[in-house]
Point group: C2
Chain length 522, copies 2
């Protein structure tokens, strides 16, 4: 053992012993779960009549305007066979219209809930129903931290974020393109990303969607990891696909969707809606369009392989009236998310929705004000898979180290929130008041001693000390504490064990695939 | 006109002209209201059975443990006459028990909704039902800003916060003890506080509750302002009273409550519950106790003057398991607030609940993360009067200039949130998509042009610009922008007109009252 390793081991022991030591003494231990079972009701914004009007508008969009498909004749063939009315607009561009109800009918074979398996079976997650899964943010080209500012993401950043995710008990899923590893050629980076998820995390993850062959590589790596038979029978990877709003599905996307579905793997179908730019400014219309696009994209999977796991998705953003920039974490988008939750349940499909969105360029008051506005809507609307739960800054352009740990801490608080309020003889605590009576503090009552370890969420980042103590300790803000924390977590990180034969198999596959292709940088 | 005045007038004109000029061009103009009419449903956490169990526990607390009353024989007499079972514990200390249902019966005469009149009739507010009123934070001994740090509050700070409140369209009420003006003797500061609310704001406000004669002074000043007859017939002032938890009402409090009620004025009845210290750690028990204490305190008003306006109240806080300090903006407290909303509606009483709570000592990420966790519960639970809507920092010990303007901006966003999501032919926006079809941006559609001024909340403090623009402009965080903003708002502030005769009357009353008393500093 090297000196550095010994130091690390000692730290780990100290950490595990923790304050109070003993099995259950770790703060928040009672809240740890592989995924959350939501025990709070959904917050249902709209009445039946309004929901029906939105659904009818979605149907009308598909029947009268239709969706445009590009450069994927096989997808067009599948939809034509299913009853879609196909018009060829030009070579490789088709408009397809669907009679009201047709898409819903196709979606009947999609599961309302499914398991995505992790390589550590204890970390497999449920997606759908009352299950809730938090995953890191996805797709930023830049990364940020307080020391080095904003810069392009690298594979080292990518690995760091996988490690930070793995080290947080409040995320359940390793995510996908946590940041773009821009130092790796575009046509090869998916191999390094999938490998990083497998090597540095033992949770479920997302694969590549940027080209059908990269989707296939991602799935092939899972066959090495899980065995081909297991992969054929079970969902072990998902792809996160974007429509090209308004109302377009390009061929790379539909071919990727078909690749995941054919392999029996999961897929998420997201219209990225920016009101006024690619969807109506008014949220009712944006939600109707979201439903139309996501349903249609989901339906493709069922034509390829009925029963393939599929996730409806919603990403509502708004627009700054001053600059035309997209805005995140706004009240209108939060309302849109609440409605999407209702619509997903009526379709009986799992939902991906919202996350800790913000436009802020720093982990400051704006960042968390917008983040909570957005995230509470995800939690309350009944979303099942909440991508962008950690790290989102700068309108999704930057992944922030500090915000990542601030967000995961919030995710911990949301574990407590989603447990709901338990009403029982014990929690009603009549005895606690009766024991000493009016005017007496309850610190020493049997009820307090029985509950004090589990009654309240204990944040790792909030400073809840008296002002004097806080001031004596340097008067830090949360961003500064977060900066220290991510460094400590990375320093203490331990990779989960991985079978050497599998590791060699993965490395061999990656080497072979990289050898086969010249580097491409676009 | 002095040079300074001329400069100020020019600034005002520029401001009013604003971007785009013209009547409705001011951002968010469509959201301005004297109070909010909530168009979103309440978020109902618990089922009927759980609510009944909480109510039964509250009844059992009052029947088997009882409330303790101190040093106010008149209040004891009133409750005895109403059927309370009185036991004298010692000289001036009584325990009173109430049969299940008795307190609810007494509360039947309390209005479910009432108007609190402002000196500017356009600013009168409704309290109860679907009406929602935001008021500044209340009761901090310290004030903070980024330039001068933490210090004791003064009457100058108090006036500044009244002015900042008045200048925000997103607050509806001037509040009460916005901060303690510690440079004025304790027995005289109520006169200066009430005068500041009257002079520097034309909204409704809260009066003194720290002694019955100070309550009487506050009401007397309203008689000078509104006329004695008007005050006798209408609610023009409210007192915000705290029980002494657990289960005690001291004589200063009950005498103050009787003073407001006898004058037909409003009162708010708040148990300040810190779980594990003065209420059970488990939230179900804390909520049951809150209901028992607040109901009983409210009931006193109806014994004094049936029909007196009264507000049930809830302030749930939790405890740091490490330090024993009270914690604010925690998930458990948010759940407690949601349940209090349900219980208040079942009692048919207006509710004061939560606010922008936090333990943070700076206007940072923690401040707004905790603030939103708390504030969203207030907005969603159906609370009617939300004190602590602006400025709350440092576990209520400090009033922050920066957080005040950050919070009022959030209050603006909540105006948009509480409008809900409108579903109509127009907002469904089918035409917006049909106009140009798939793949085409919607910037120029008739639908976009028709809605762009009113579709989205436009924050005065969020930086939603691209990173490059933000960076070029200095790369500020929200706290820094807030620091500039409160100074600008104070600089631009104009006092609303006040009749000179009334002003002289108030000044004369204050001078006379101050002359009658020696300074007291405790």
């Amino acid at each position: 053992m090297t000196a550095a390793e010994a130091k690390r081991t000692a730290r780990r022991r100290a950490r595990r012993g923790g304050a109070g030591a003993g099995g259950g003494a770790e703060p928040n231990a009672h809240l740890r779960v592989p995924w959350i079972t939501r025990r709070i009701p959904t917050y249902d914004l709209l009445d039946e009549e309004s929901l029906v009007r939105i659904e009818q508008t979605a149907d009308r969009i598909l029947a009268e305007i239709g969706m445009e498909f590009r450069e994927d004749a096989e997808t067009v063939r599948l939809f034509r066979e299913a009853g879609g009315e196909v018009r060829e607009l030009s070579k490789d561009v088709w408009n397809i219209r669907f009679e009201p109800g047709m898409i819903r009918e196709i979606l009947r074979t999609a599961p309302s809930r499914f398991t995505q398996h992790a390589r550590n079976p204890a970390n497999s997650v449920e997606i759908g129903g009352d299950a809730v899964v938090f995953a890191p943010s996805y797709g930023s080209p830049f990364v940020m931290d307080l020391d080095r500012g904003r810069r392009y993401g690298t594979i080292e950043d990518f690995r760091n974020f996988v490690k930070l995710g793995q080290s947080s008990p409040w995320l359940h899923h390793s995510g996908g393109t946590i940041c773009e590893p821009t130092d790796i050629p575009v046509n090869k980076r998916h191999l390094d990303m999938v490998y990083a998820h497998i090597r540095y995390s033992d949770r479920a993850f997302l694969g590549s969607i940027t080209a059908p062959e990269r989707a296939a590589d991602s799935i092939e790596m899972c066959r090495i990891l899980f065995g081909a038979d297991f992969v054929d029978e079970n969902c072990v990877i998902m792809g996160n696909f974007n429509t090209t709003s308004p109302l377009v599905l390009d061929g790379v996307t539909t071919a990727g969707i078909r690749t995941y579905a054919a392999a029996g793997q999961g897929s998420i179908h997201l219209p990225f809606l920016l009101g006024g730019a690619v969807s109506p400014l008014t949220m009712a219309g944006s939600v109707a369009q979201c439903l139309a696009e996501s349903m249609t994209s989901c339906a493709l999977t069922q034509l390829v392989r009925p029963g393939a796991p599929v996730v409806l998705a919603s990403f509502q953003s708004t627009m700054s009236l001053r600059s035309g920039s997209p805005t995140f974490g706004t009240p209108e988008a939060a309302l849109g998310s609440l409605v999407m939750g209702q619509l997903a349940r009526r379709l009986n499909l799992p939902l991906r929705c919202a996350g800790n969105f913000t436009n802020s360029k720093l982990p400051d008051a704006q960042a968390m004000s917008q983040a909570l506005m957005s995230m509470m809507s995800a939690v309350q609307c009944g979303a099942n898979y909440i991508l962008h739960s950690a790290g989102f800054l700068d309108g999704l352009l930057s992944m922030s180290y500090e915000k990542f740990v601030i967000d995961t801490d919030l995710c911990g608080a949301l574990h407590a929130y989603m447990r709901g309020l338990d009403v029982s003889e014990d929690t009603l605590g009549f005895d606690a008041l009766a024991e000493l009576g009016p005017g007496q503090h309850l610190f020493s009552t049997a009820h307090t001693l029985r509950h004090y370890q589990t009654a309240y969420w204990d944040s790792a980042l909030d400073d809840n000390q008296p002002w004097e103590t806080w001031d004596e300790q340097g008067g830090s803000d949360m961003a500064t504490r977060a900066n220290k924390r991510w460094k400590k977590l990375l320093d203490e990180y331990e990779a989960p064990a991985l079978d050497e034969g599998i590791d060699d198999g993965l490395k061999g596959f990656i080497a072979k695939r990289k050898e086969m292709m010249a580097d491409a940088w676009y």
